[in-house]
């Protein structure tokens, strides 16, 4: 694949989820991403394009970053379809194309969801929170200092942005090339990276950061109080109660936001009574 074509697919891949719908998910997005490649492949046989597009407009759903592996693999297989020597071969290749599309989208979605949404997003959040604490912004306190330099806010957010996107954009860009050049024996280049080990190591790092952050919060909480008074005990009791309840609500799969809304209602009732 030419570099210019790879770049076009890369740029268009940022709009994979535009037109997302509950019927065929990212089908419009996939067609949009692959259109320049299809035009190039079928430039001498424009009449074939409608039937080709029908295949791309079928159901497709995967994780947006890892989708690049699907683009490369589908492009490679599309070339095989376009250059099929006989009708039997053509049908074979089309069936293979459909299998790749279905199988690879599920595999990449599974890896991408665990790596990017399940691990990297919370991990970069923790890195960013640590940066804020190191800069002296104690977000555990309801009342922050009167002014915080703008650069602190941008640095913390920028750190999360840069770490996440450095990895995501690398995977997005390289995924197209790797999957295009790889074959199905290497699962279209997916086996080139040890995803499980990466996720495992990132989660180990994340759990250390999360526990460290909780301890940091406790330290800040204790540090600010010189005497153990009613205010100290009340705050500690409310926080501890909410943390314990959050473990229970997590087991019951109730999102935190509902716990927060319930806390507002309950505390209002308690205050009135």
């Amino acid at each position: 694949m030419k570099l210019s074509m790879r770049f076009k697919i890369f740029l268009r891949s940022f709009f994979l989820q535009t037109g997302w719908n509950y019927m065929k998910y990212q089908n419009l997005g996939l067609t949009f991403v692959m259109l320049p490649f299809l035009k190039e492949t079928y430039k001498d046989d424009r009449d074939a394009l409608p039937s080709v597009l029908q295949r791309y407009l079928e159901i497709f759903n995967t994780q947006p970053v890892m989708a690049s592996f699907c683009f490369g693999a589908l492009a490679k297989q599309e070339e095989a379809v376009a250059h099929a020597e006989s009708l039997t071969k053509f049908k074979e290749k089309v069936t293979e194309w459909s299998s790749i599309k279905k199988g690879l989208s599920i595999t990449t979605a599974s890896i991408g969801d665990r790596l990017f949404w399940g691990t990297l997003k919370p991990l970069t959040l923790l890195i960013s929170l640590f940066a804020l604490l190191m800069l002296g912004v104690n977000f555990f306190e309801p009342v922050l200092p009167a002014s915080v330099p703008l650069v602190y806010a941008l640095f913390a957010g920028g750190l999360a942005f840069c770490v996440f996107n450095a990895i995501a954009l690398f995977v997005k860009w390289e995924g197209i090339k790797i999957s295009y050049n790889a074959d199905e024996n290497s699962c279209f280049g997916l086996t080139r990276f040890d995803w499980n080990k990466t996720i495992y190591n990132a989660k180990r790092f994340g759990i250390v950061l999360a526990v460290g952050m909780l301890l940091f919060g406790v330290y800040h909480y204790l540090k600010d109080f010189e005497n153990i008074d009613v205010h100290f005990v009340t705050r500690a009791a409310i926080v501890l109660f909410c943390v314990i309840v959050s473990f229970v609500t997590r087991k019951l799969r109730i999102p935190n936001m509902y716990l927060y809304l319930a806390t507002v209602v309950v505390l209002n009732l308690v205050c009135y009574l």
Binding site: W20, P50, F139, N165, S246
Partner: protein, 201 residues
């Protein structure tokens, strides 16, 4: 409604596109979006706090499959807009969370309603492949407009209601909401610890 609030709603509507429809470069994350939006209201401290709290509160819901998490951008935008109108952050954040939940419900309806247009666009694309570019552009524009209208209307309604209600709110309600607001980072962090456990459910 000041021009700053109007600009904030428009900026939030654009940032919200990053969640699903365009880019996915994490501009729509609370910790990034809120300080950026705070540049418009001028309260950077509020921006940092709302950003951190929003991220931590919504950290337990990921956009896996068809799951639609509450919008961090809407939560941050509504909170910062109400705060800029003179409403305390602990009240504003409550409305921000409610707004984010309502927005995700409306967004789900919008995605369902897209079924009807999908068949039309598929036919157009098969006839003329370049129609896919128009379909994508139209989807982006309509999403932006819907985001803007929803954020603006919700902010305006909540702002008007709270400005009317604020003088009548008793001290107990202030204390209760402040305490509830204070628990947000702790609830969020307590959720992040099991989120990193090595054994998946």
């Amino acid at each position: 409604m000041t021009p700053e609030i109007f600009a904030l709603c428009a900026f939030a509507a654009a940032l919200e596109l990053d969640t699903t429809y365009a880019l996915q470069l994490t501009f729509s994350r609370g910790i990034i979006a809120a300080p950026l939006m705070a540049l418009l209201t001028g309260d950077i401290v509020a921006g940092i706090q709302v950003g951190v709290f929003t991220e931590l509160l919504f950290a337990d819901i990921s956009p896996l499959g068809g799951i639609l998490p509450p919008s961090a951008v809407v939560c941050a935008a509504v909170s910062l807009a109400l705060n800029a109108l003179g409403i305390e952050l602990y009240f504003a954040f409550f409305f921000g969370v409610v707004g984010a939940i309502l927005f995700s419900l409306v967004e789900r309806l919008m995605r369902k309603s897209r079924f009807k247009r999908l068949v039309f666009w598929e036919q157009q694309i098969i006839k003329n492949p370049n129609a896919v570019n128009r379909a994508v552009l139209l989807a982006l524009v309509t999403s932006f407009l819907m985001n803007f209208i929803l954020i603006f209307i919700f902010t305006w309604l909540c702002g008007s209601f709270m400005l009317w209600l604020l003088p009548h709110i008793p001290a107990q309600a202030h204390m209760a909401c402040r305490f509830a607001y204070m628990t947000v980072p702790w609830i969020g962090l307590a959720t992040l610890v099991p989120a990193f456990r090595l054994k998946t459910r």
